[in-house]
Symmetry: C2
Subunit: 227 residues, 2 copies
């Protein structure tokens, strides 16, 4: 990895056009050739960047300008990132090696596992029939049965938006055509449900349910399973 602290001006042309006026910034060049230009604020997203694979060509500017170097970074497409350096305060090369990588826990998959073990938290009368119940257009997260003998399809998201309602609607449309199932209701379960998704769900007769991951973790699994 190469780190430069430098006063520079940046132009990007590709999926859009963007320009950064001359200012002091951090330029990061990773060993795969990717380049990112950071300022001292905002979130982790750089002001400008070029993702790998890409190649850098370095050019010396005309003598009479104040510029010291011009980088032209190009990728396989037609994207071009041009960095004009005025002053390079530091230019450091460091060898970080290959990172052992990140281990995550608590994403949608975990939520699905917990709800599969505790479907009654969604609605008291539910027992699990199957996780990832297959349909022609993809698997439904959970298929449950009610004590009254009906079925409930559950779509699980970390954050539910309108798309989630559309997805569950398509599943329900298919499941309701299956004469073996009969009546099928829909539940949209998520840690956070956007108001518009909630509205559309109600409009479609789908029940939106907010779930709490930490609460779920403290539960003992439902015992009255079908299988």
């Amino acid at each position: 990895m190469r780190l430069l602290i430098a006063t520079c001006e940046v132009h990007y042309t590709g999926r859009l056009s963007a320009h950064l006026p001359m200012a002091k910034r951090l330029v990061m060049v990773k060993s795969d050739g990717s380049v990112s230009i950071h300022c001292d604020g905002g979130a982790y997203k750089p002001l400008n960047w070029m993702g790998a694979p890409c190649s850098i060509s370095v050019e010396q500017p005309a003598v009479q300008t104040t510029l010291t170097q011009i980088w032209t970074v190009t990728n396989k497409g037609s994207d071009v990132l041009k960095i004009s350096f005025a002053d390079i305060e530091s230019d450091t090369q460091v060898d970080l090696g290959v990172d052992p990588g990140l281990a995550k826990d608590g994403v949608e998959k975990d939520l699905q596992e917990l709800l599969a073990a505790n479907p009654s938290t969604l609605r008291g009368d539910l027992t699990l029939v199957q996780r990832e119940y297959p349909t022609a257009i993809g698997p439904v997260d959970l298929l449950c049965r009610t004590t009254a003998g009906g079925y409930v399809a559950v779509e699980i998201k970390r954050r539910a938006e309108i798309d989630s309602v559309e997805q569950l609607t398509r599943y329900l449309e298919l499941l309701r055509r299956d004469p073996l199932l009969g009546n099928v209701e829909g539940i949209l379960a998520a840690q956070m449900i956007r108001p518009q998704a909630r509205t559309l769900a109600h409009d479609r007769g789908i029940e939106p349910v907010c779930v709490d991951l930490n609460e779920l973790r403290g539960l003992t699994p439902d015992e009255n399973r079908l299988f």
Copy 2:
């Protein structure tokens, strides 16, 4: 901005749990207190991070360990980022000042403005009724009228995918319920339309139209407006 090249181990607990084993990495601390941990690969996204506002408390570990420092970064919520440093190869402070910021050009808003001024480029018989025409589930980008007296809802994207067709379909469903409008057609306008979106659009009776930003810029605005 403070930059450290250091061998460190990281734990994050918050919206999820994540762990990074001990390895040499770049740790970036911005002047707003935000912290990000980068490796020498992948895109610009860091392995772990804590966004501002947050605070860092530094602790010295017990003497017999190999650790030199432990940082605990916390924000207003319950998120905690713990960085255990084994070896700090370098620790640099640089003053970048406030960045003058990025200027973008060529995004959806520009497209919408240009098409609102030149609806006839979409189809010869169109005049603008309203930009951001409101419906119960959100505003339609453009509502136009035809010379024949019908209406056309226009959804504008930089790149149109299947979602864009779904979105316009929902708008059309609502608009067609409105007895004041009567017949409402749909146009999907984008700089680039993915084949799948084009296919679905045709299937739904929606007209996909490719627009050229540079061509639009050279046009004089339509004169035959309704308002």
